[in-house]
Amino acid sequence: MWGMTSGALTSLGYPIVEHTLDNGLRVISSPDHIAPSVAVNIWYDVGSRDEEQGRTGFAHLFEHVMFQGSAHVASGQHIALLQAAGAVVNATTWFDRTNYFETLPTGGLDLALWLEADRMATLLDALTQENLDNQREVVKEEKRQRYDNVPYGDVMELLNTLTFPPDHPYGHTTIGSMEDLDAATLEDVHGFFRRHYVPNNAILSIVGDVEADDAFERAETYFGHLPAGPKPPKPQAGPLEPLSGMPRAEASDKVPAEAVYFSWRLPARGGQDFDALDLAFSILGHGQTSRLHKQLVRGTEHAEGTGASTMGLIGGNSFGFSYARARDGVSPEQLEQEMVDLIDQLLSDGPTDEELRRAKAQFERHWLHELARVDSRADVLGEYATLHGDPNLINSRIADITAVDHGDIQSVMEQWLRPDQRATLIYRQEAS
């Protein structure tokens, strides 16, 4: 499956074949006969960054509406028919994308493609006020369950606000606000569908127990007749400079432990700068041997948990995060200072050889896991094709990461992680 050079994996050899239909739908095939199953995955190049002012949360609400039926499919039947064909079905919305996917026994491939094509072609034929209202309520329940009714549930929103200007495409969360969800109308759904849900704004990945020619032929059968639309413009957000002015916010709630969060603006994903920062964040806060864990959980025992990670985004900038939850009797300010010291130390000394080797080894295992399953492989193919234009990049990710050296990491940290380039959120316990 891969070539070996001097003990390290360089390039993986997953087969990737591409074909674009006349209407602009890009189809990617990666045959794999490990199981009699096939993964169908559509990435639409639309996410919460494409939302208009006053309509936050709309891309995600729209995703729910996509399951409410189309011209030839009754409400709820999309999932019901696929599950009855032995499928695992779902969809997600994020800043840069909305993806719809199902994995099922190969004999159900035609059904899956037919269902996806029917809603891409005829969603609006079945749309009713009742369906929209119902899914608006479901989404509000999702927001309550995942954000409003759990400890620290508003952290993402608070960090978004600290890190990006309010009118920036990444200045609001994907779940959006209750008020904006309430404001969404049928006209909004019509407009959003016509603008973004066109074949030339989508990537269809078909991975698993089907040969490439067969996959392309079936894609042509079900999607070939759909008309292309104008390619929707992407939000024009040029790369922002690193954060300045050290923005700071406080929150308080009935949480079990006080906590400190940092966030950073980082460069957009898709280049060595981002990859080098990704390794730096891994060294800082991923796993038991990371600097934060070693020092704050194991060493001073001031934290009950720590972490750091990047969130790669394509529209000019990405996010970086770090956090620590305080043990009893430790003030957030004390913890904050210890975190700052650790980050500054990494900045000044750079990672050790061992740290860099471990971070790369952990990435390699994570990436091999990701590609081992046909469903997650289909998803990363859609991701790399949509965001970077080239699905073949998945075969060279390990080589890309392997190529990053100490100097690369120190120079990007110097550019993006200087002490005055972070935002800080302090989460306090509300006195009960």
Binding site: L9, G76, P105, W114, V138, E142, Q145, R365
Partner: protein
């Protein structure tokens, strides 16, 4: 535009079978199960130890969890951080999983690093330092974790539900990781003693799955074959028994939603009704358009999702309708649920049964297509005392379930008027509406007290 194509039919599934393991024994009698899976370059290793949680002394429950979590904090050969650093340098991931029926120690590692990583893995299992400082820290972290769990309404509901559904004298009634009053009594000495008494090769199974670079039997023998523990004690697993029916409302003042668990004591995989109950529970609360979700989510918009879930233990188990609903509609959602789960006048249909069988049969090949999926299932089977061909047998049994059998099995287990109800939500707004539904035995409780602080 041309006429839209008619809905395609589904081509019949090809015959599929769960991979058969090759079995061997290490020289110390550890049972080895090997799954050679070409193309799976991350090896998944599970060491399943026959240490049921009822092996824990009652006053220090949680000791098994603290012991397992401290294994990779240093060994007699590689102290402290050095151990974890060595393991991570091999690209390995190390984890533990504790269930009532046994402990799993888990390793994921690229195939070319298996030999060295398994050697380190064996060190952690057989010669951990279990140093005072590390044990004490893990006790404190576990106490903090319990606080976090109680602060999360879904976790709080599950904790209260298991405490009610199982007889309180049984280990199953309490969290696998232990409750605050016993975790706080765990000391380095008790952890060391637990390791000495219960960790050993007798009754252990090592599962290895993936595309092996070297002979896996030799690799396993080198790492774990010489492990001895002459003092190892074997403990028989305890059978859980049901607790009395209860109706509990755990107050969460101001909560915008309430988390609900509505269920009772259940059955295990070896019960002759298991296949039928699996079908029934999928139709009632597993499928997207299950009876519960179709009404409460898709028709009413009361919830992001509601399920009916059966959780089998080695013997017995539990089941519950579970979901979270905005405070205003909780009583209505409960009333609807209570009606929907009665199947007397609405027995399961052949359509429901066929859809459930197709779903279970269809998802299996994918679920078990990776080393991780296969090893995980093999470990579940080892812990539950199930045969190697369990997956194939159970799919065959599912195919033989009739609508009548599904309805009958369901009715024999689910007695809608005798269920335990746990609600975690705003008591001021919920207590009266819930009582008005006829739950007159409602018991309102304050949020879990913070037992870990003076």
């Amino acid at each position: 535009m041309r006429e839209f194509l008619p809905r395609p039919t589904i081509a019949p599934a090809v015959v599929w079978a769960f991979p058969a393991p090759q079995r061997a024994r290490l020289s110390n009698d550890i049972e080895l199960m090997l799954f050679d899976l070409p193309g799976q370059h991350v090896i998944s290793a599970h060491l399943v130890l026959d240490v049921p949680l009822n092996a824990e002394p009652r006053d220090i429950e949680g000791v098994a969890t603290i012991c397992a979590r401290t294994l990779d904090e240093g060994t007699l050969r590689h102290n402290g951080e050095e151990f974890a650093e060595l393991l991570e340098t091999e690209g390995a991931g190390f984890g533990v999983d504790l269930s009532l029926s046994g402990t799993q120690i888990i390793l994921d590692v690229p195939a070319s690093h298996l030999d060295r990583a398994l050697e380190l893995f064996a060190e952690a299992v057989t010669q951990p330092s279990l140093a005072d400082r590390d044990v004490n820290r893990h006790v404190q972290l576990r106490l903090a974790e319990i606080e976090q769990a109680h602060a999360n309404p879904a976790h709080a509901a599950s904790i209260a539900f298991r405490a009610a559904v199982f007889e309180e004298v049984k280990r199953a009634a309490r969290m696998n990781g232990g409750e605050p009053e016993t975790v706080s009594q765990v000391t380095p000495d008790t952890v060391g003693a637990f390791h000495l008494d219960h960790f050993g090769p007798a009754g252990a199974t090592l599962i290895l799955a993936g595309d092996f670079a070297d002979d896996p039997i030799a690799v396993a023998e080198r790492s774990l074959g010489s492990w001895r523990n002459d003092d190892q004690q074997r403990v028989t697993i305890e059978d859980p028994t049901p607790g009395p029916q209860r109706t509990l409302l755990i107050d969460r003042p101001g909560a915008v939603q309430a988390d609900v668990r509505f269920g009772s004591f259940g059955i295990d995989r070896l019960d002759p009704r298991w296949a039928a109950i699996s079908i029934a529970s999928y139709a009632m609360g597993g499928a997207f358009l299950s009876r519960l979700n179709a009404v409460l989510r898709e028709e009413k918009g009361y919830t992001y999702g509601v399920r009916m879930n059966f959780g089998p233990l080695r013997t017995g188990g539990s089941f519950a309708v579970q979901g979270s609903f905005r405070t205003e509609v909780v009583a209505d959602a409960l009333e609807i649920s209570r009606d929907l789960i009665k199947v007397g006048s609405a027995p399961f249909t052949s359509q429901e049964v066929n859809d459930a069988v197709a779903f279970f049969a269809g998802v299996s090949p994918l679920r078990y297509a990776t080393a991780e999926g296969v090893a995980d299932q093999a470990a579940t089977q080892a812990l539950a005392g199930l045969p190697d061909d369990y997956v194939d047998r159970s799919l065959a049994l599912l195919r033989s379930v009739t609508p009548e059998a599904a309805t009958e099995a369901y009715s024999s287990v689910v007695h809608p008027d005798e269920l335990t109800l746990v609600v975690v939500g705003d008591a001021e707004r919920l207590a009266d509406p819930i009582r008005a539904l006829g739950f007159t035995d409602l018991e309102v409780r304050a949020p879990a007290p913070d037992q870990t602080k003076p």
